[in-house]
């Protein structure tokens, strides 16, 4: 066999050749769609968004390969360190974070506004993957074995809620829960958690900010305040629905270009796309995303190492959640939570974090034959 020695570090050429290029093709297609939509959102202009986005895509694309060529053992080795480093950043946000959109989310690094909550999504997956990689099934199924990962999940999630960024915290928790589920935590524990959460909801409601309460109430009944918080959902549905089968044509979306559609270059970009390209445009984007997620699960299946599988499942789930929450939100299925559509929406942080995720997924897939024993962690 070609890979006679599974634990040998592959050459760069071998790594490059083992990349699944149709996966990257889907990613690039979505990026192109994104740039086109940003061009349209600006009324047929490269500025202010499309040009920046193009630049970001190129940088992020390069970054993806950088992360893809990092050896799986390096990820394994630094998984805990990365987690704690990001946790420190997250705490720092509380202290020095910039106030923007009513939420404290960024650390200003002059060239880039660092959003540690986005990084946490990745490092959390790495952390949990490594933790469960080195646990036995017995440990996973014991209460004692769960205390550490549960705390390590809840603590950053709580920090992010405090920022306050409910959407990201929710995604973080959901991703973690999927990992907990996949590693084999018993179903009754999830049911118990569900029961407890439901009971705690009235208390949690009390701690929500007014604008968050409004978002939930508005979601439940958008017509409650058609000119206020319900406006976004109503206008989004009108824009989407009026696109019909073939759409109103590129650059001809009336809802978007006449400014009825809010945030058309960020959270509501899928709406604009569906208005201009109709059902076919919307379906194309959902299908491309479906393929990306499908490939992710396929990678997870064929990867040898438990760690690698778990990392891919976690990161893939995280990406899927972006797509699901954003599209469900603009379709009026879930409350407006301020989650962008990855690869398409305008914005640097999410673009970078998603492309880094893809890089890590690719790295896991490139090293799919590498067998990392359960004990290997402790060998270092």
């Amino acid at each position: 066999m070609y890979y006679s020695n599974f634990n040998r570090e592959l050459t760069l050429k071998e790594k490059f050749l083992s990349i699944r290029f149709s996966y990257i093709f889907c990613i690039v297609l979505l990026m192109i769609v994104g740039i086109l939509m940003l061009y349209s959102a600006a009324g047929g202009s490269m500025t202010p968004w499309a040009k920046n986005q193009l630049l970001r895509c190129i940088i992020a694309f390069g970054l993806m390969f950088v992360f893809a060529f990092v050896d799986v053992k390096v990820y394994l080795k630094y998984s805990y360190l990365a987690y704690f480093a990001v946790l420190v950043l997250l705490i720092a946000v509380e202290a020095f974070g910039h106030v923007g959109m009513g939420a404290q989310r960024w650390i200003d690094l002059k060239i880039l506004k660092l959003q540690p909550s986005e990084l946490m999504k990745i490092s959390m997956v790495l952390f949990l993957a490594k933790y469960f990689h080195s646990s036995t099934l017995g440990e996973i199924r014991s209460i004692r074995g769960l205390i550490a990962p549960v705390l390590m999940t809840l603590f950053p999630a709580a920090l992010i809620v405090l920022e306050p960024d409910l959407g990201t915290a929710l995604m973080l928790l959901l991703t973690s829960m999927v990992i907990f589920f996949c590693v084999g935590v018993e179903i009754w524990k999830f049911l118990l958690l569900g029961g407890v959460s439901l009971a705690a909801m009235p208390v949690a409601w009390h701690f929500l900010h007014d604008y968050q309460k409004n978002r939930v109430l508005t979601f439940l009944n958008p017509e409650r305040d058609p000119l206020g918080s319900g406006y976004h959902i109503i206008q989004s549905k009108i824009a989407l629905g009026s696109g019909g089968v073939l759409g109103k044509g590129f650059l001809h979306g009336t809802q978007s270009h006449l400014n009825f559609l809010p945030e058309k270059h960020t959270d509501f970009i899928f709406t604009m796309l569906s208005e201009e390209f109709g059902f076919f445009g919307g379906m194309l984007v959902i299908l491309l995303n479906l393929m990306i997620v499908w490939y992710g699960f396929m990678f997870a299946y064929r990867i040898t190492s438990y760690y690698g599988k778990l990392v891919v499942i976690g990161l893939n789930t995280n990406y899927l959640l972006y797509v699901l929450i954003n599209i469900a939100m603009v379709l009026g299925l879930v409350p407006v939570v301020g989650v962008p559509l990855p690869l398409i929406s305008y914005g640097g942080t999410v673009m970078l974090s998603v492309m880094v995720s893809f890089g890590i997924i690719l790295s896991m897939d490139i090293n799919r034959h590498v067998n990392l024993g359960r004990q290997s962690v402790h060998e270092d």
Partner: protein
């Protein structure tokens, strides 16, 4: 290692669940997309169009009104108005205050604006002020950045070139009030005016036209991006009246500073040639807003300039009613052209003494002579002979107690008393003495100047039932005018009497006579007492009517026609408190008829 195998298997199965669930979730999004875009696409397309398309109403120009010679009587003129759109200004009251500092707005106007804003939807423009001067417009435009939501709009003003000459029949237009039916979308356009009075109101449906619409694409902030569609409305129909503005002016000017009413008709068609009610007012004031002091004056003036005296005021016809009494008696056969009564200046009936206005008494008179001298005693006797019922019957035939469906507001029908009428009105029996005074057009009898003109026209056109009209009759309509049940012979006798009044030796209107190439006038004078001169007044030297206060003096009336040989025009003139029918009313009628002949209408 076994345990690790289990761990791996569990991971595989659980991951399959997650993958399956993920795919299902994504398919759900597709289903929802299908639902919104394909199943409900049409609904959302409509909503999207409602968002982006703003429809504005295009106001059609109001129909113009012309006289019979195509002289403009009512037309439209551009004017500029300032409007405020509530939703485009953060604080309406503050903005209105700012506007008030620039252009003159008093507190009442400000209150009205704020209440209009409160009663309208926030995107409906509300009028701040119209007929802006160029200075006002410049001030508003200069300060536009500080006046959010204030826009200047082009509007249309109704203009009446002949002003007070046409006020009483044309009427005027005014703002839409709550009483107007709000079925037409035009009525909700700010500053839109509807006919409020006179023919403007009568012909409203024809003059208004149909609204057009302008479809504009607007963005979320209401800014107009482009025009999508324009449906021009239909201009209001123009209306040609039978009024002759030249005659109208002459007739109105003939009154000088007297007050009263005059109406001139074409005797064969009933077409109204002149329609005068004086004093009048300038209807243009009503479109630009009547200044308070002028409005107060119009309301309080004892000569009632706002009252349309041709149709809305009724008077005792006095001696002009003798035409009706004479015809009724001739038709009933109680007298003929040779029947004579002796006029001694006084007649005793019951306990009453009825005086003739000529206290000397002209002696034995037939009906033609009685008309010429306007002898009261003759008509007392005649009225008694023919009875009140026959008189009323003839009055109705000649068109009294009728409003001819002219459509004016506040039209008076007048009163033609009968026994039944008195029974119903006063719950008391008719007295013979009441028939006596009805014989000279006093007592209960009340008529409008228009009815006087119509009745005369019917007498001298050979007994045809003409109805007054402001619009030319078609030949077909003319052929439908029916003959009244009065014999031509009797009509000729009365007409002879009317000729004598003006042209005969000792006729009461002798001074008003004219002869234009053989065209002469006939007619009948009337002077009706508003109040008797009291004994006390006689003692203090007031013996003549002219010495009394204006409002106590007699009304002066005259009905006339010309040319006598081939009658064409009939005219009725009432001069309020003019003292003397022959001295004041007859000369005005004479002027009007002369002018009509000379103008060759």
């Amino acid at each position: 290692m076994n345990r690790d195998n289990d761990k791996g298997k569990i991971l595989l199965y659980r991951t399959l669940y997650v993958a399956g669930f993920s795919m299902i979730a994504l398919v759900c999004l597709m289903v929802r997309l299908y639902d919104l875009q394909i199943l409900e696409g049409e609904k959302y397309k409509t909503l999207s169009d409602e968002n982006r398309i703003s429809t504005r109403i295009l106001v059609p120009p109001r129909g113009k009104i012309y006289d019979r010679n195509d002289v403009l009587l009512a037309t439209n003129q551009q004017n500029f108005q300032a409007l405020i759109i509530a939703e485009q200004t953060p604080d309406v009251a503050k903005t209105v205050d700012s506007v008030a500092k620039l252009i003159d707005l008093n507190d009442i106007q400000k209150q009205k604006i704020l209440s209009d804003v409160a009663h309208n939807r926030p995107f409906m423009p509300v009028k701040l002020k119209d007929n802006l001067s160029f200075e006002d417009m410049a001030l508003l435009q200069l300060n536009a950045p500080d006046l959010p939501g204030v826009v200047i709009d082009e509007g249309i003003n109704r203009v009446y070139p002949l002003g007070h000459y046409t006020a009483h029949f044309l009427g005027y237009v005014g703002a839409v009030s709550d009483q107007d039916v709000l079925s037409d979308p035009l009525l909700s356009v700010p500053g839109f005016k509807v006919g409020k009075y006179g023919l403007e109101k009568v012909f409203e449906s024809r003059l208004r036209g149909k609204s057009g619409s302008l479809k504009l694409e607007v963005n979320a902030f209401g800014r107009v991006m482009k025009e999508i569609d324009r449906q021009n409305g239909i201009e209001g129909q123009m209306v040609h009246l039978t009024i002759d503005s030249r005659l109208q002016k002459i007739a109105q000017d003939a009154f000088g500073d007297q007050s009263g009413a005059a109406v001139a008709l074409d005797v064969h068609s009933g077409e109204i040639l002149a329609f005068v009610s004086v004093p009048s007012f300038d209807p243009n004031l009503f479109t630009t807003g009547v200044p308070v002091n002028i409005w107060q004056d119009l309301l309080s003036n004892e000569r009632k300039p706002l009252n349309n005296k041709v149709v809305s005021e009724h008077y005792s016809p006095g001696s002009t009613f003798k035409i009706v009494v004479a015809l009724a008696a001739l038709e009933a056969g109680v007298i003929d052209k040779n029947t004579r009564f002796h006029c001694s200046g006084v007649m005793t009936f019951g306990n009453h003494k009825f005086h003739c206005w000529k206290h000397s008494g002209p002696g034995w008179l037939n009906v033609v002579e009685a008309l010429k001298h306007s002898c009261d005693i003759f008509f007392y006797e005649t009225a008694l002979k023919v009875g009140i019922e026959k008189i009323a019957e003839m009055a109705h035939i000649l068109g009294f107690e009728d409003d001819y469906h002219l459509g004016f507001a506040n039209m008076q029908k007048g009163v033609i008393p009968t026994k039944a009428w008195k029974e119903q009105r006063f719950k008391s029996k008719w007295q013979q003495g009441e028939t006596v005074i009805a014989g000279i057009g006093q007592g209960y009898v009340l008529v409008t100047p228009l009815q006087l003109a119509v009745s005369l026209a019917r007498v001298i056109n050979g007994g045809y039932e003409v109805v007054p009209t402001f619009e030319k009759l078609s030949l077909k309509q003319k052929s439908k005018i029916v003959k009244l049940p009065i014999s031509a012979e009797n009509l000729e006798i009365v007409k002879q009497g009317l000729y004598e009044v003006v042209n005969g030796e000792g006729g009461t209107a002798r001074r008003a006579a004219f002869n234009i190439d053989g065209a002469r006038m006939g007619g009948k004078t009337g002077t009706t007492q508003v109040r008797r001169i009291t004994l006390h007044e006689r003692k203090t030297g007031i013996v003549r009517d002219e010495d009394l206060d204006w409002r106590l003096r007699n009304h002066a009336l005259f009905v006339g026609y010309a040319p006598h040989d081939k009658p064409k025009y009939a005219v009725a003139v009432v001069v309020e408190h003019g003292s003397s029918g022959s001295g004041v009313a007859a000369p005005i009628a004479s002027k009007i008829l002369r002018a009509a002949i000379e103008l060759g209408i």
